[in-house]
Symmetry: C2
């Protein structure tokens, strides 16, 4: 049957957004319209459950671009599996955020 974690609608939306190239918190907030108090805790839980992995941007880059450093995420193999299952559960999600290869940075 597959013992994958079941995601909430919001968690699935966030995972889909990361998968579609919105790979840090602020960009997910902007594209989804969800507030920071939703997005950051949700991303923590996704990482806690092994569905995404984070990596801080090098300070030198942030400094050069004159902004705070970003925490970049990528979807793990387990995350991809869970996301696919979630898209079956919430088919409307695919309409909301089309998959793309580009990164929205």
């Amino acid at each position: 049957m597959g013992a994958e974690a079941k995601l909430s609608h919001t968690a699935a939306l966030i995972l889909r957004a990361i998968s579609a190239g919105y790979i840090y918190g602020f960009s997910v907030m902007e594209m989804t319209g969800l507030p920071s108090g939703t997005v950051y805790p949700a991303m923590r839980r996704l990482e806690r459950d092994g569905l995404i992995q984070s990596k801080w941007e090098a300070e030198t880059i942030a400094t050069a671009e004159q902004r705070p450093p970003r925490k970049y995420y990528k979807v793990t193999r387990a995350g991809k599996t869970t996301l696919e299952a979630s898209l079956k559960r919430y088919p409307l999600l695919e309409k909301m955020i089309p998959q793309s290869e580009e990164e929205h940075v």
Copy 2:
């Protein structure tokens, strides 16, 4: 400024579904994929806040169609205003559920 209640993503999704003709709990569950424990309490709160109004179906109809009676909802004037504001906040919602004049019964 407008003192309209701000809706959560889920509440807005449910309100939009009702507005699009999914006018009782079970049909909203089916079209959104959300579970009963989300949909029914959320609809109660929407009614509590005056955004929708409920009316039990006549028992004679339910009996004739050999199923449990349904609780039908309609979006109030206040609900329409709030929904419009919410669609501006969550533009992705309009993609998810297109507006229609038909009832999904």
